[in-house]
Symmetry: C4
Subunit: 504 residues, 4 copies
């Protein structure tokens, strides 16, 4: 049996037809009512073959959607494998067994706090943690190895303290600034994060709309759930978007992506340089274990076969050979400003400067790549004095991301010399919990916080922010206290106040 | 129907009359048996209109009292809106539903520890936490953002250690000192804190009486629950009081307040400079959420309408344009010494010096304004060496507040160069839990502690306190340990002592 | 009725007689079968009058014994108030109500771990905490204010790390050293601690016997439960003891005590200089609250009357005027070496040197006096380099106490220049839990630990211990981490290992 | 009755015969079906006589096996004491009472996570903790005194952070290196750990097989459960093994061991220099308490008799007199490179260099010897700059062990100058939980982690690793935070997010 995908008017395939192709030898799947023969594609699938085989002969739409942009099949599966429409009425509905965890989640969704009870960005995360699917939560929230760097990203801001000035006229506060020539209302941008549909069925376009409302820039991720064009289409006239790029081994593909983005109006090209290989995230791996094949992130740890498949798969779309030698080529194929995303020490910032790029993002990929990478804000404090010493501070726009949750964090980064900060997960959580209104409120909270805190440190606008307003002496200190004296702690009888019936 | 407030002998209004005016279109409320038409005032109410509308057509006395000094209506509501007496017998009593939380609180009050079981200032806080109304507790105890600065205020004292001298004759200990020319028994003063009636029905006058008994100075808050004159009237002849001032946009009002205070005998004008906008305190906001309109602190975060109302409202009484340029004017309208309250770095202390003011309070407003502001005591350690280097150490009296709970804290501040320390929340808690006897005991405990500790560091009086008595090397270190190694911690099997039947 | 104490052959007093004198106006008490009229003594009692009045007209022996040496009445109560023997058969036995706490304690004693299950000094404390009377435990374990210094005493040793040398011949280890000319088996001594009978009915003589067995020196406390002579009598020929001295306002009394000690063979006079007033220990105060009058430590905090009584009382036996001027007098009245106990900074060590005393103990009184006093070991690290610089390192013997629990602590102190270390509470706990065998085992454990650890750092004897063997870089750092980011901590989903049925 | 061991064809001994020799006076035991007269050996037994007496007259095989290599009896018990075979049918089987702990353990084993659920080395430890026998777990996991050093070993790596380089071509990663001339696939080796059969009935040969599969070196322990020859026999042709050596007082024995090892092909002699006496490990002692005599590690703490026995026993096989003077002799008896294992400060590394040895292992024996010894990695950071300054960095190969759990740890050590790292406990845990497949997976995980992390720091091979890739500023800081402010902590009302039905 050989169904051509180009047969028009073809009678629809039946569920029964499909069901026969349920093995490695012949594997068909249904996506959005259409059948595809993925047998040959199995070994190349970045997520490994097992996850596809789980749906061999069946409807895979629900699992497929959050992970793949809608144009995936057109782009990556030869047309000859597009088998045409399926008569969905003939496809056996799978009885989903009642999942107590899912039941609990639905219960929690019913009892969700109303949006107005979220007073800060962490509140959205608290809600999202409780209402998201476990695997989606694990994918968003996980990070590399022991997740030390992810948490340090937040900690690092806590080590920076203010030296505010009083008695400044702060009647009118102007939070606006420009990034790569674009004027924005407040110095943050929505940074690129993968797989937006895991959190919200509409995916990244929700963030596009939020960014538009608050006049901030959205960076479009290579690994979006929506297609690139969908995300651009969701923008309004004049709304600024940037492109985040994983560089493909096949530079023609890369060139096509870049030039397409430029044509569609993207105003900045952010080349990811901290991910020659996608990180191992154990929380994510553990959460997917029961779902045996669904290892989105292609770990090589669980068994040899899958490991090899994944290694090959990844190498098909991220190029580990990407190096400084490639920069001139990038400069030659686009007029968009080029920014290196994921630079992590001052030596590389200087090198970036000499390479002629327009900016860097000091970032560790949200802690998802190399554990014990330092926070972007710490690197910023290392970078700027050296740049100033060498007169290079205006040659590049310096951005920083990772761990930003409060407007005070944004102010700290700008005091230390950043042009703007990227915020990723918090908007994902706001979107996952409350959709666009969540994103809107999250951004508004940042604006409200920032206006107030600008007043409180005595600055009217972002140009007044400077290093003398912060005390960073504790920033670079990475210490752990001496291990607990358990015996001593156990015998100590802690001082207690007067005995009272406690509130609880 | 148009009731004039100046009709004498008028027959009383009935509850039924009132009940008709229960909307935004016509909003009357009863306060202490008299009716007021607040319809036009609604949009200007600093706390937002919703909280008033909740009581439209009803008796609002109970809610009104702790938040507003008794002269508020006379001062801020045009006499034409004073509608005259209400026949309270005709006003329907609202059936209060049994509140399990309130019931629990009454239970806890019944079982309160007796006053003699409070051995230190923190003990009062422990009791207050359990016997105060939740919203009152939240208002007093809350601070800005993550409340990091509020807690750091306490921590900072813990980073200062003593280098005591032995074999000094410490038979007679003299704790007295002078502040702005006034002799006091011990170098602390009761600093200004808002809304005293939330904690005690009598409000700030309780603190006046406590201060008198122990011969310390009380700073009268602008946002007191009692009126300024009530608080001054509660003082005895010769009892020293200071005025804390939020500067009004309308400088005539400010001038009137200042000159009235001077006339009534205030001996110092403390201009708050760390609050061009009142801080966001999320714990407070959260505690009031159910009580939908009662947002005392005028957050702009919860919805757009209220936010705008609040912003306008605040700007009506605190002037964000206040700046160094205004200082000469203040010096021209009063002979009281002028002290800037809320200075937070050495640069501004020097500027204050040159501006000709008489002192500064190194303060971050109890952590209620800018989170990650440094503690006053840390700023003090930064300030004094510079002042001494420049020969300015005697040009200003330097005060410090925030986090003082022990007499050792007072001694540390004086060793580092402070003239005195302000103590706020602890006396509020003592007053809330035990009234005047609580305040009395709290002050006595500080005296007892201080006498002992003066002996133990080898000083007879406060003039002997000097920097060589303290070790401040760890004071300015703001670090957080490396994030927890959860996997490592989980596998570690902690050492335990011999197995014993435990005391519990 | 006026009973003379010197009437011989007197008929015994009856319980009925006594019972009449049960008030402030006439207060008789029975101690060890004899009656005493303490009416006039009441206001002078260091522990306040209330605790005596509780036993007015009754047998007070049980309460009296642990707090007072047997010769107290002879020394401090005029013979005319000694009323003679009581016919104890006629004294009504007080029915003690069953105390559930005491019952629990007896239960715990029955289930005590056997001595061999104590592997280190902290194990004794763990046992003692569970088997001692609550008030006794509170008295021993409590410290000043927030007990920060007491715990820092332990922490400080944890900040010192070893730099051991390998490949040294450590076959034979010699732990012995000399202190003030006396040869001892191991460089610690039993330091003075008050009220030994609270922990063991025999009191301090148990420690005397333990010290003898292990050939270490015992320092006899002024506030012992046993009389000085009892403790000296318990020593064997040639066993070295020292005298700890609280200096009395009445220098004749002090002189008598000192010269008596010298005559009885004491080999060192340790003058306490860190306690011009006895510290406030809130845990102790709180534990005694129910027992209303029994405030052993004479706090002034709980009510005015008792406070004044206590202040007077204390001044009757500890002289707060003691100063450097008194040192020559002490040098004139005794040939014993004089050591100042409680010196806390390098300036005072140098002063002690110039004053001609023979040594100092760097000590903060076990954290029981001034909270935020630095640990003795930290002061030692400050002191020795300065002494060496000035060539004074051999002019004084430097001792250190506080927080020593492991032989490694002793080694650290000796590496830094101490001649020996004092150990107090651990032996009290060992004695309270297991009596003399406990003290014996505690000392043996220290010897075993020390022999091993000497080998492991590569030293054969204590003269080889030197500063290059330790790394003290973290020692003087007094920091507290930034206050917890509670919101952040709550949303973080900690990494967990594979799910396993846990051992518990 | 006198059975000669050399009587061939002898009738077998009966259980009844044996049972008579059940006392100190005559003590026979059965091991693997043969009887031995150990009466005279009792006082010399390194583990003390009690543990043997427990099995006097009985079958001791089960207890004997994990602790003793099979050739022990041949080596250490005179042939005249080998009494010949026992008719095991006549030996009374001991009824083992049901042990609820063992029952729980069997239950946990049944529910063990499958191997694929272990994603990192700590996961094996988590499983092992739950499925190993309590005493075996205690022996492996315990360390000296308060186990501070053991935990610091792990902490220390957490204080080192990366400064990665981006845009390096990292397509091909080569993890291989050489150690003492042997090429290995990845720069770790299996370090020597005692008593492998406690975790797995096959013992150390399991590690031999794992090492072979991954082409890494195994260091053979002196105190292995398998005999030296068994372990060598388990290796394949060309597989590299090293010998760890405890130096015996009897140098002839030592010489024989060393030369035998060299003859059998060992490629390195690692002389343990940090254990002139075996450490006290209280967790281990406590776990064995009930099993009264089984004190493997010969503590001297529990009673005098055993202590003396143990001291003597130890001195019989570890020589505390071993010193630098012995090094020339070692160099004279073998051509194997000689490495000193357990060097702990730079002074000794330099001395080792001058002594002509070929390397050092910076190690503290897994924290099992001297508590408060610094971590090997910290010592490494102290050592290398000095060696480089003196031009000695290539004179020695520097190894480091202790606390390595992640490939990032290996990379950190190599960046700082180590040639390789030793890993011990993790492989024991992997072996105890899952046998050879566990060891295999553990090693594979390290390879996978390392390949990824090499890419992420921008290095293709280990020669590119250098100090500029790490930030070690916090490494040598040994601090403990100020003791907890319990009163303050108790009154603080922690900020909480919106109330949500929690996931649990």
């Amino acid at each position: 049996m050989n169904h051509k995908s180009n047969n028009t008017q073809a009678e629809k395939l039946s569920g029964e037809d499909l069901a026969k192709h349920n093995s490695k030898e012949s594997c068909w799947v249904i996506i959005h009512g259409r059948a595809y023969d993925v047998t040959e594609f199995l070994p190349e699938h970045p997520g490994g073959p097992k996850i596809i085989l789980k749906y061999a002969g069946k409807d895979a739409t629900e699992e497929f959607d959050p992970i793949h942009p809608p144009d995936t099949l057109d782009k990556y599966l030869d047309k000859s494998k597009h088998l045409g429409e399926v008569d969905m009425g003939t496809v056996e509905k799978e009885e989903k067994e009642e999942d107590p965890e899912e039941k609990g989640r639905q219960e929690r969704i019913k009892n969700m706090p109303i949006l107005e009870q979220c007073y800060n960005l962490l509140d959205f995360e608290a809600v999202a943690k409780n209402v998201m699917k476990r695997t989606a939560w694990a994918y968003y929230s996980s990070a590399a190895d022991d997740e030390i760097t992810m948490r340090e990203n937040r900690n690092a801001y806590h080590k920076i303290w203010f030296r505010p000035r009083v008695l400044q006229d702060v009647t009118d506060i102007d939070l606006s600034t420009t990034m790569l020539g674009t004027k924005v209302d407040i110095p943050f941008y929505v940074t690129a994060t993968a797989l937006g549909k895991l959190g919200n069925p509409e995916g990244e376009v929700v963030l596009t709309r939020g960014a538009r409302k608050h006049n901030v820039i959205q960076m479009i991720p290579t690994l979006a759930s929506c297609s690139f064009d969908e995300i651009v289409d969701a923008a309004e006239d004049g709304q600024c978007q940037w492109l985040q790029l994983y560089v493909n081994k096949n530079r023609d593909i890369t060139k096509r992506i870049v030039q397409h983005a430029e044509k569609r109006g993207c105003k900045g090209l952010f080349i990811t340089v901290d991910a020659p290989q996608l990180g191992r995230r154990e929380k994510d791996m553990r959460s997917k274990f029961s779902d045996v094949g669904s290892n989105v992130q292609s770990s090589s740890g669980d068994n040899v076969d899958r490991s090899q498949g994944a290694a090959r798969a990844i190498s098909s779309f991220i190029d580990p050979s990407l190096s400084w030698k490639d920069i001139p080529w990038f400069l030659s194929i686009t007029k968009m400003p080029i920014i290196l995303k994921g630079v992590q020490c001052v030596e590389d910032v200087i090198r970036a400067c000499h390479a002629g790029v327009h900016g860097v993002v000091l970032s560790n990929h949200g802690g998802r790549q190399l554990d014990f990478a330092r926070s972007g804000i710490e690197v910023l404090a290392e970078v700027m004095p050296v740049l100033r010493e060498r007169g290079l501070e205006n040659k590049l726009e310096i951005f920083v991301d990772g761990g930003v949750r409060r407007a005070t964090d944004i102010i700290k980064a700008l005091c230390l010399g950043a042009k703007g900060v990227g915020i990723g997960r918090p908007f994902l959580y706001a979107m996952s919990a409350y959709g666009l209104p969540g994103v809107d409120r999250a951004m508004q909270l940042l604006k409200d916080e920032m206006e107030m805190n600008m007043r409180l440190i005595g600055c009217q606008n972002v140009t007044q922010l400077n290093p003398s307003l912060v005390d960073t002496r504790g920033l670079s200190m990475h210490t752990a206290p001496i291990p607990t004296d358990n015996l001593g702690l156990n015998v100590y009888d802690p001082l207690a106040g007067p005995k009272i019936l406690s509130r609880l």
